[in-house]
């Protein structure tokens, strides 16, 4: 089971959409068993799945969320608290269908809860829960019901005990950037932030790619291409650090089109995006196998 975290401390770069569509692509088009975990207290992915485009609720998910996930104390925060307290000296949290929601044959989901905001206040000791995600994934691997090939984490645009744990054990970190100066600036800031906060830095592969690229008549605009060159330049600078950060700049490009915004609440994978996600997914597999 390989874990992939999507992160950028700059908000609005499209972390949630990319994570979800990648997972959908891997599950639907590559027949992989995939779990997506929403670790963001903003609950963007969780809400997007709840809400359909018309604004009505998807009955099954909402019912499961309220009646099973919340009532049975099977949220991500409950799991984190169980790990933090380690009552009886072990991680007492069973992986059941109240914790993981099944979206389709191959696609599974662990939603977020608004209480994850508490983690921003450092109520939990980061060092103590550093291996929480590793332990949780270990439990999943030992549960015969789920044999996930890949786990995707939609990470928040801030640094919490949970993101600390996710990033400490990820097989790959994905950083989407946009064609603007702020997103490109974010690469260096984030890599510096991660390597100084996560000790020892496990040096997972980090892949940067262009998301929300602007097009004109079906071709990337010069400005998008120029910003991508700048992002690649930043990656090259980071590579030259003495810490030997394993960062790659992938030429995979996801265009900014209206249909992608409808893709999460819609129950389908948008066909016009298939070649773009195929390329991104192939890159991921070439690194993770």
């Amino acid at each position: 089971m390989k874990s992939i975290a999507t992160i950028n401390f700059k908000g609005g770069v499209g972390k949630t959409t990319v994570t979800w569509l990648l997972a959908k692509y891997a599950a639907a088009k590559d027949n992989k068993k995939v779990l997506v975990v929403d670790t963001d207290a903003q609950m963007s992915l969780t809400l997007a799945i709840q809400l359909q485009e018309s604004g009505t609720m998807i009955g099954n998910f909402e019912k499961w969320y309220e009646d099973k996930h919340i009532k049975n104390n099977k949220t991500l925060l409950n799991a984190l608290e169980a790990y933090d307290t380690l009552k009886g000296g072990h991680f007492d949290f069973s992986i059941t269908s109240s914790f993981i929601y099944q979206m389709s044959d191959n696609l599974f989901f662990v939603p977020s809860v608004v209480d994850l905001y508490w983690l921003e206040l450092d109520v939990i000791d980061r060092e103590k829960v550093k291996h929480f995600i590793r332990a949780l994934l270990g439990k999943m691997e030992h549960t015969n019901k789920y044999n996930f090939n890949y786990v995707f984490f939609d990470s928040p645009p801030n640094f919490t005990a949970l993101s600390y744990s996710v990033l400490s054990c990820s097989s790959l970190i994905l950083i989407p950037v946009n064609p603007d100066v702020f997103a490109s600036r974010g690469i260096g800031l984030m890599v510096d932030g991660l390597k100084y906060r996560i000790e020892p830095w496990p040096n997972p592969p980090i892949a940067v790619f262009m998301n929300k690229g602007k097009e004109r008549l079906g071709v990337q605009t010069k400005e998008t291409k120029r910003y991508w060159e700048e992002a690649k330049y930043v990656c090259e600078q980071i590579k030259q650090d003495k810490e030997k950060i394993n960062i790659m700049a992938w030429d995979s490009f996801i265009p900014d089109r209206v249909s992608i915004k409808r893709a999460i609440p819609g129950q389908y994978f948008p066909d016009e995006f298939e070649p773009y996600f195929k390329e991104l997914w192939e890159n991921i597999k070439s690194i993770l196998g």
Partner: protein, 125 residues
Amino acid sequence: MSRLNKITNKIEKVEKLLKDIKSEIEQYELEKNKGVRKNIKKSKSETIPSREKLIDEYNKLYQSFLSGDSKEVFSFVESKTINYLKEFCKANNISIVSGRQSKQKISDELVRWFQQRKAISKRNQ
């Protein structure tokens, strides 16, 4: 008769001289035109480096920008022809409004991108 012969001989000499002068003028004009054409041809076939070299040139120009000031960029742009600069911008994805390129605008655009690169690649080491 001998006097008439002398005059005829003189006319023949003047005619020959005029012929030589005319021939020299024609030769001179021919060479002059050839030279102009050669120069025109030379300016049309200005050698523009490959895309990779133009990208390298951009990066070297950025290094000069980093170590000094933007004057280096302006003098680079001034020393190149518009055709060269068009290819340079194309290779480096620098957007310039077609048909309205001026060296000043190109310099400004390059400096803007270099300033951004400097800001983007600033690290908290």
